[in-house]
Structure formats: structure tokens, C-alpha cells
Symmetry: C2
Subunit: 573 residues, 2 copies
């Protein structure tokens, strides 16, 4: 029974629910598929994992944290391509009206069904006589693309406008590119991170925490100059052989260090390899089993609309291999798309030439005799904005944004082409972007899955959740030997002292035998348990017990709190 | 000019935008009123304030952190009253179609217009010949209630259902009451906190960070037994005289300690007074000027639909007195509403009697001859569920939820009333809730407003943002005296060392004179600046400068990092 993976998954899910770690949301109202709560034992766990992620990237020194809205106006997501491209194919049953993801219906009939075109999906469904999962009928409408964004409206009445809940946090970083460029004093490379909710209106969510309609994302957009050679030091990972699964068109699966894979062009861009290595570090630091990580390169057909190369970090657990991180080279896709949609010219970076260049070139210049009368006091602004178009070839008529924010329309008769000679010191270019995008819920799920250890004690089943102490929801359980003789008061005092210490959290548990209380703490992953007994009343010492091996040590309360606060408590054993 | 508050507000807003603290969101796409970004100098500031809030409540020892979805199914918000009651009145202009909050149109004509009924609003608009703010017309439709929730749909096609973006985080805690009660081993009082996004589809947002369409909330729901006398120790605040503005029907504004105000029944419930005191502590700890805090009691007519008493913590700043925290006694409104909407009987707590009671009572019991054939193998579950209805008087037919989650319908002919004698040891009751609800963005705004100090240096204007070091976005600026002779490399090393230290963040700034760089750091509130000079190359010392008074000390780099990490750096001066 212990070795049946499905039964183990059921027991783990049930423990997480019973102990208030992760629960189906809105359950008293019947629940909603794909929405979960982090309960009393899950909220801090989630936040600590999130903070660990932010701190991991902050160490790099060239990455800042930003926070942008989840409600996103339609124009942003038209420019980014999500309104057109962020779709799954859906098949609807003519029998009952049930809607399903078409690729889910043909799993088992194709190795990678989410890369298939609608007609191929329809053919597989039909060839294999796939039944409706609800009513059993075999009577399907043709597969249709369904946009996966939650839509809403901002404002009321005639002034209202369409918006969507963001499908990714990345657009917030692109919107802020001008502020980031200014903050970093105009020097690439630099990055920005954001954590927060992302939304995906799944057709038929399943697999627990794997496929959610609202999820915790953590994304890093790292802006680089494509003409500057990246110089990453991979020596820390020389002895780490990563499991790499390149696009089968190019290579077989292979075990190789990231430095070697980058040098051998198996990973095409060194900055992608760098973030794969740093991602591996993060995953291992929060408790993912390193033998259960692999990196899989996207095949051409499954690549997102914005990516020019993408490697997924997949983690193996109860649901098989699951994509938990995507590390994509987005090229200049997004900045170019927003530039072209808005005409804003602040999405570029400046690349100085080594030597100034004398150039002979054609520019578009305003005709004074037309611009003056047409724009009056704004004529100067119009002329400057036309000069700033340098190098672009506008199609007339076009809209031009002035530095004061107003938009004007430029006709062909307002401008003339001029041949000029100029000395140029550099050029404006669109930075490229490498994006590691993390699904925090999926990682958290695998942290729990890998930590969940079904063992036995005295012949009976016994489970321990071997969470890394740096992310455990509760640091310490405080257990009075009995709830009388003042032991409970001393225990409460220690509990309050620990809770009042920064970054520490404890709980008080006075009911049941000590063994029973240890078991309750072990089951939910509390790394340390403190027992208060009669001796404690005399000399202010307590017993501290280590979750992972049950080892116990007598210690002064002050020493206990100090070592917990400094994360040095292991040293007292 | 320095003393013109409007000009000061403009300068502050402009600095926050220029330096990347707070910026209008989606600006390159034209922006959306009521949506803001926290930029490179704002993201960490926001998160630290949020974490400070969570840590503040965690010290109490009986409060846990949870996290629930922002997408909320309609049935939850019908039960909570938001679908019916979460409205503002809107007046629409017949001239241009512009929509405005009716109470905003009559500001200046009434002391507290948001308490007015629609006909009173219409009368004030008409009596005062209020012009449309857009087109100037005086031609208004009657004021109409407009629901302020963002609506969306979960799922596709026929299976889709209406949902809303949550207007408050509180409902997530009510949904989790059963898990919380279990976690706290069935003992009241206890609380749960949640921070995250809340949404309010404002008709016409204004006032910058004060009135947002998407905002950062932080709410605490504290569950108590209304029959147990609360026992709070107010002695810490004996010498703190709070500015209290009770409902004018009962009392004049008064300065009084919270203990005294509770004892004198000016604050009606001691737990409300307790959370007012703890709220005051929090606000002061993050840098709110204590002389600019007052507590105002809601008048009967302005109370939210769920509240039986409510005090706002208002903070004074550039926009006058602004509500930043609401501390509401919600009674058992929410739990009762969800119980009645769902029939779920897990929203109660158990109150044991001091002595068991013999009672003589009527109960509803299943008729074996009907229940058996009707429900077969579930007959036992149906009988238990009927017994659990004890004390309720169902109206037939009604839906009954079994412990395995299935719902069955009970007709009148399936049950009989029985008179029984029983010994009762206690009773199930609906806990009451006291809720402190914080608007994190409004508090953050006032933290910035109170920290923004326009002073002068050498006769020229000079601004310093006197943020508390515990929440500043950046802890240290690292400044090489010049970017040559290897000083820049040493500075980069120190920068990376600090960024790799938990909870610390620095930035490197090499451009411009040292004075100019100090000024840039002071303007955005960096508490410490470190200068690397030629001496540093020799003996590994640097100069540390304190923002608030410019004092400087020479210090070893290791000592610097250690003191920064321990928040003891002040002690070296």
C-alpha cells in the first residue's frame, strides 16, 4: 500500500486539507474547481517561499522588485499578443454541453497533444472514439480556440472599458522599462522581479495545485544588450550534472553541467544557461530533491508566441514530470510590440559607439510653413518628435506622441525628406529579455510532495513532513508536559516570546500525550518542538527536540530563542 | 511657496514618480485612473510595510496567516451582502454621459454626503445647480446605486458562472472558519490575517493613492465568544491620549487613553479598544506621526451593512483627514449569513456549560420506515445530520448536507417531532468578530507624506525622505569616491556582500559628485550611505553616513555588514 503512488497522493492531499495547509476554496459554498486556500498552516509557508524567491534574486545586486496591478487594460494585452494568442482548444460535447480541453481528451494517443492544431485534435478524438467524461456520449463539436483570460470592465456606463486579469506578471515589468532604465542609470544589464497573482480561466481544471485558475507567480525579466557578449561564471556548477532534455530534433537527453551545455550550444544563450543554474540553486535550497529536476527544451511548435528559446524546469512528483519554471528568451518581442502599439519611444536603451561615426542619411523633417500654422504653440514639440523618429519609416498619415503627452496626426504634406550629414555617438536599440517565470504553487506542491515521508514508529505508520526549516510555516511547537502547576503559563510565556521575535513563529499545544503532540508537529513539518516540564520552573531550561531524528537537548530559554532567531539552533545538538 | 500644501503635494508626487517609487500604471498605453505601480524604489518598500504588518499581529500568538483567492463566486458575495449593498450612488450627466459619484458632486454642501439617500443627493445637486465636471451642463439623471465590484465569469460556455474580484479579504477568513477552529483546537479567541489585493470599481477615482480601483489590503478577523468578558491589559497605553471623535449623537471629541475610553464605554467593546491601541502602535512603528492620528466613530447611517460598531483610524496628510484603518465589530453577521445561505453547520463554536443541564425538548428525528427506503446506504448519515439540526426549526422541504458532502432533500413526511429528555453539556453558538481592516496603500502614502521633509542646505532647497530604516526600500547606498583605481570594484564587492545578506538591500551609484549622490540617496529615503575611498583599499574600512543628520563614522566592512544585518548600525555613531 505504501508504494501505491495514487494512494500516497490521496493521503498527502488529505493530510494537507485536514491540517489546514492547502484546502479547496469556498468549500462551504460548494467550492470552485481550480481555486485553493492556504489555511492556518499554509499561509506563512507560502509567503516564506515567496520571500525566499525574492531574496534569492536580490543577491545578484542588479535586480529590483516592483509591483503592478493585476487588472490590465485590453490595449496592453492586445499589444502583448495575449488577446490573440493566449488560447487553449476546447471541445464541447453535443450531448451534455460539457466543455473540455481538446488536448486532455487525446492524452495517451499522442506524446505531446498541446502542440496539435485543431484539425489534428478533432481527428484524434474521432479516430479514437473518445467519450465525453461527463455523459459518455461520442458527439463532439469541432475544437475551438478559447481565450483563457478572465475579462472584466473598468468603470461604469459609457466610460467603461474592457480589461483582463493579468495572465502573467511580466507585462508589469515591460510597462516599467523606462523607470527601470532610469533607476539603473541607463546601464544594462539589469532585471526586475515581481511576485503576485496570475489568472488563467482553465476550461476544466484538475490535478489539484498543478492547474489553477488563480495562481501565485514569480517572474524575473532580465534586460540585456544582444550585441554584448554575456560573461557568466559557471564554475560553481562545474560538478552539477543537470538532466537536460533538448528538443529531440537537435539532441538526445543528456547529463551535463550548465557551463558545458552553454559552451556546447546545447543551451543556445549563456544568459538562459545562467538562469537555469540559478533556478536549480533556488529549487534545491527550498527543499526540492535535486534528482527530481530536469530541464526540457520546448519544441518549435509548443513555444509561446513571444519566445525564441525556452527551457522548462520540470519537477518529478505524484503527477509525473510537471513544468514548474519556464526560462524563456523573449528576444525584443514585448518591447517592440509595445513600441509599435503605442509609438512610445522610451522602451529603448542607448548603445554608444566605440568611435563617433560620420553618417550621411535621410531624415523626416517638418515643413515650417505647414507645421507652424497647423500646430501653433505646439509646433516646436512636433518638430522635436519628428526628429526623434530618426531611422523609422512612417506610413502616412500616422499618429505622433509629443513629449507633453498629446497625440497629433501627421499627413504626408507636413513633412519632407532631408539628406543630412551628422556625427553619431551611438544608437537606440530594443533590449532583449531573458525571463525565468516560476509557478510558486507548483513548486510549493512539490516541496510538500518531496518532504512527505511515510515511515513507521513502533510498527505503526508515522508520517513526517521534512520541510526545510527556512520555509516551514511554524518554527517551533511549545508543549507543556501538562496543563497544570503553572507549566502552561511558562509555556505560554515562551510561546509569546518566540512569536514576538522577528521571523519566528510558534504554536502552543497542550492537549494529549507528548508523543501524540510530537506526532502532530512532525506530520505538518514543524522543525523543532520545545517541552516545558517541572525543571523548567526551577532553572528556566527546556527540552528541544529535532523533528528529523527525534534528538533532544536541554537548553536555556534565552539560548533557545537566540539560536532560533539566528537559524543556528542545529549547532546545540 | 514651501508652505503651500498643494504645491508640496505636487512636488512629493513628482519626486515619487521621477524616482520610481509610485507611478501611474500602464502609462505608455495611456494609463488607467485608479491603478498605480510600485516601481524600482517602491516594490520592496510596499512589501516591507506589508511584512511589518503581518509580524505586528503575529506577536500576539493567537493569530495565523492565511491566503485565499481574489476571484470569488457570486453565492459567497450574495450571502455576505456585497451583491446587494456594496454600492455608491452615481449621477450621470445627460449632456455628455459622464458618470460621477453623487456624493462627490455635493461636497461642500453637506458635512458628510456619503451618508445621504439618493433623493437627498438629487435635491442637493438640483438646489445648488451643480455643473457637470466634464461638459459643464446642469442636466442630471437621478442618482442610481452602482455596484462597485469588478465582475467576471469562471469557466466557459454553459458551465460558466458569475464571479467577482473580492471587495475585501475578510470573506476568505470566514470561509476558513472551520479550519481555523480546528487549528486552534476549538478554543476561542483566535484570529486570522490576510494581506493581498482588494478591488473596487470606483466610478471616478481621484486623489492619487487614496482612492484606488485595485489596492493592497490587510485584514484581521478576530473571533470571540460574546458571552466571555474580554480581558485586555491597556496599561501600556495609560499615558497615550488618543484623539477620539465619537458619534456626535453621544459625545464631543475627546483626548483619552484607550483603557479609559473602554472603561467609560466611549468605545463600546473592549476588544475594539484593544485593536485601536494595537493599531496605533503599528502606525507609529512604521513612521506615522502620532499627532496626526485620530479615531472617528461611524455614525449610525454611515456604518457598513455588516457592522454594529466601527471606529476609523484617520491620518492627517496632504489630503486632509483620511480613513486608513477601519476597526469594526461585525457581530456574528458574516458567519450567520453564510450559515443561513449554505446550511453548513461548521461555522459555530462550542461553549461548555459550567454544569451539565437536564433538558426536556422537541427534536426532529428521521422516520425509519421512510428514511431507510429513501436513502438506502446513506440512511445512517441522514439520521445523524437530522440530529445535528438540534435547535433549528427547518421549513419543509429543505436541503440537508451529509458529512460525506452530498446534499439530500428532506420532506415533511420523512421526519417526526419527538419530545426527549437529555443531559446537555454545552451549546453551539456563532462567534462574534472584531475586524481591523487596513488600507496598506493609504498608510504607505501617509508614511511617505510624513517622511517628506523639505529643508535646505547651503541656502538651496534640499529634501530628505525620513523613512524608518525598518521599511526603507534600500538600506544602503554604496558610493565609490571615483570609478577608477579599483575603487569601483571594491564598492561592487561590498554591494554584492550586502545584497547577499538576508533582509538587506543596497544599490551602487558611481556617477556625479559625492554630494550629488548623497542628495539622491537622501531624497528617496536611503538611511545609510557608504563611501569607498583609497584608504578602503588598504585597510578594508569605509565611511558610513547617516541620512538624518549627515554624521559620518569610519568602520570595518565586516562590522558594517554585521551591524546592518542586526539593525544595530546606529550604535556605531
Amino acid at each position: 500500500m505504501m508504494s501505491d503512488p495514487h494512494a500516497r497522493l490521496e493521503r498527502l492531499t488529505s493530510m494537507l486539507r485536514r491540517r489546514g495547509v492547502i484546502l479547496p476554496a469556498f468549500e462551504i459554498h460548494g467550492g470552485v474547481a481550480g481555486l485553493f486556500d492556504f489555511g492556518p498552516m499554509g499561509g506563512r509557508l507560502r509567503r516564506r517561499l515567496n520571500n525566499a524567491w525574492l531574496e534569492h534574486w536580490a543577491t545578484q545586486g542588479d535586480i529590483v522588485e516592483i509591483d503592478s496591478p493585476t487588472i490590465t487594460p485590453e490595449s496592453v494585452l492586445i499589444a502583448s499578443g495575449h488577446v490573440g494568442e493566449f488560447n487553449d482548444h476546447m471541445s464541447e460535447c453535443n450531448g451534455c454541453g460539457g466543455a473540455f480541453r481538446s488536448d486532455h481528451l487525446v492524452e495517451g494517443f499522442h506524446p505531446n497533444p498541446d502542440v496539435l492544431a485543431p484539425k489534428d485534435l478533432d481527428k484524434l478524438i474521432s479516430d479514437n472514439n473518445v467519450n465525453c467524461l461527463t455523459c459518455g456520449a461520442i458527439d463532439w463539436k469541432d475544437a475551438q480556440p478559447m481565450n483563457l483570460m478572465f475579462s472584466t470592465r473598468i468603470g461604469a456606463m459609457k466610460g467603461g472599458r474592457t480589461a483582463y486579469m493579468r495572465p502573467e506578471t511580466a507585462q508589469g515589468m515591460f510597462m516599467l522599462f523606462p523607470a527601470l532604465y532610469h533607476h539603473f542609470r541607463n546601464r544594462l544589464p539589469f532585471g526586475a522581479v515581481q511576485t503576485g497573482k496570475g489568472y488563467r480561466n482553465e476550461i476544466s481544471p484538475r490535478q489539484g495545485m498543478i492547474r489553477l485558475r488563480e495562481f501565485n507567480m514569480a517572474e524575473l525579466e532580465y534586460f540585456i544588450d544582444p550585441e554584448v557578449e554575456s560573461n557568466h561564471d559557471f564554475s560553481n556548477w562545474d560538478s552539477c550534472l543537470f538532466n537536460l532534455v533538448p528538443d529531440p530534433e537537435f539532441s538526445e537527453p543528456i547529463e551535463m553541467s550548465p557551463g558545458e551545455a552553454s559552451a556546447g550550444n546545447i543551451i543556445r544563450h549563456p544568459t538562459v544557461a545562467w538562469f537555469m543554474a540559478r533556478t536549480w540553486d533556488f529549487l534545491v535550497s527550498v527543499g526540492i530533491d535535486p534528482t527530481k529536476i530536469r530541464f526540457r527544451q520546448h519544441e518549435g511548435t509548443e513555444m509561446a508566441h513571444y519566445a525564441s528559446d525556452c527551457w522548462d524546469a520540470e519537477i518529478h512528483g505524484s503527477y509525473g514530470w510537471i513544468e514548474c519554471v519556464g526560462i524563456a528568451h523573449r528576444g525584443c518581442y514585448d518591447l517592440a510590440a509595445h513600441e509599435s502599439a503605442t509609438g512610445d519611444n522610451n522602451l529603448r536603451a542607448w548603445r554608444p559607439y566605440d568611435e563617433p561615426m560620420e553618417v550621411d542619411k535621410m531624415i523626416v523633417a517638418g515643413k515650417g510653413s505647414v507645421i507652424g500654422p497647423a500646430f501653433k504653440e505646439k509646433a516646436g514639440l512636433v518638430n522635436s518628435a519628428l526628429e526623434a523618429l530618426e531611422g523609422m519609416s512612417p506610413v502616412f498619415p500616422f499618429d505622433l506622441k509629443l513629449t507633453d503627452g498629446t497625440m497629433v496626426t501627421i499627413d504626408e504634406n507636413m513633412v519632407e525628406e532631408k539628406r543630412i550629414q551628422a556625427t553619431e555617438h551611438g544608437e537606440w536599440f530594443l533590449p532583449h529579455v531573458v525571463e525565468p517565470a516560476f509557478g510558486i504553487d507548483r513548486i510549493l506542491w512539490h516541496v510538500l510532495d518531496h518532504a512527505y515521508d511515510e515511515t513507521e514508529k513502533g510498527g505503526a505508520p508515522y508520517t513526517v513532513l521534512r520541510l526545510d526549516p527556512s520555509i516551514a510555516a511554524i518554527d517551533v511547537a511549545i508543549l507543556p508536559l501538562m496543563e497544570k502547576d503553572g507549566l502552561d503559563e511558562v509555556a505560554h510565556d515562551i510561546h509569546r516570546q518566540i512569536c514576538s521575535t522577528r521571523n519566528l513563529s510558534s504554536y502552543y499545544d497542550g492537549s494529549g500525550s507528548i508523543g501524540r503532540r510530537y506526532a502532530r508537529a512532525d506530520e505538518v513539518g514543524v522543525p523543532w518542538a520545545v517541552t516545558v516540564d517541572h525543571e523548567s520552573m526551577q532553572d528556566n531550561t527546556v527540552t528541544i527536540r529535532r523533528r528529523d531524528d527525534g534528538a533532544q537537548v536541554r537548553i536555556q530559554v534565552d539560548e533557545l530563542v537566540e539560536n532560533l532567531a539566528m537559524s543556528t539552533i542545529s549547532s546545540v545538538f
